[in-house]
Amino acid sequence: MFERFTTEARQTVVLAQDQARRLRHAHIGTEHLLLALAQQEGTASATVLAAHGLTPQVIIDAITAYVGPDDLDAEALSTLGIDLAAVRTTVEATFGPGALHRRSPGRRESVPSGHIPFTPRARKVLELSLREALALEHRSIADGHILLGLLREGDGLAAKVVYDRGLEPDGVREDITSALTG
């Protein structure tokens, strides 16, 4: 399927993986795809998303509010008088760098490295993007088609980000469709 992706669409998948890793998430979900789309300045999808108030920072804030920052919340700890940086330094002095990182059960390493799998829903979104391209009689799958796929899927965290901002998915859909067909 990826052979029909445009450069921007491929970049979306790559960036989604980077973002998942940066947020220390062990999967690539619809939310990471949405974030990756918003981050590619100048693309049709980033422009439409920004026009609806969905900038990368807004999306990151929304994601961390839903799933919790996978890394520790230094700001909240400071309200209790705990200096996370100091704790981290002390712990790492004994146990080595990254000792405080989250570890998933059954594995010793914590930070996802290498391949991070897509969630079934994110995979579905990529399939839907192909369908959206076909429906518009486009030969390749662009970033905009991925956005359409995200909106079509409608159940993931990406959709929740859109809904919770009070946005009408249909409005976003219309804008991206006209950008794709214009």
Binding site: G68, L72, D73, A74, E75, A76, L77, S78, T79, L80, G81, I82, D83, L84, A85, V87, V91, F95, A99, L100, H101, R102, R103, P105, G106, R108
Partner: protein
């Protein structure tokens, strides 16, 4: 790090979103430290019984939480 006055003000915040977030952050930190120390204890040959005693929980509790799927550390004791 905020200054002491500000810390005191925030820690005693009546705003649940501030207070609860702090509790959650603290719990996350405790979980990380516990996992780290349990690993360390196992690496040093401590039994689940000894670890549980130090943590003030039952052997079953600590075993259930940390023994699953840990190939290297799954040994009889």
């Amino acid at each position: 790090m905020a200054d002491t006055v500000q810390v005191a003000a925030e820690a005693s915040s009546r705003d649940p979103s501030v207070g609860l977030r702090a509790v959650r952050a603290l719990r996350d930190l405790v979980e990380r430290l516990e996992a780290l120390q349990v690993d360390n204890a196992r690496d040093q040959g401590w039994t689940w019984e000894q670890i549980a005693q130090q943590l003030g929980v039952t052997r079953q509790a600590v075993h259930k939480k940390y023994a699953g799927g840990r190939g290297l550390l799954r040994r009889k004791d």
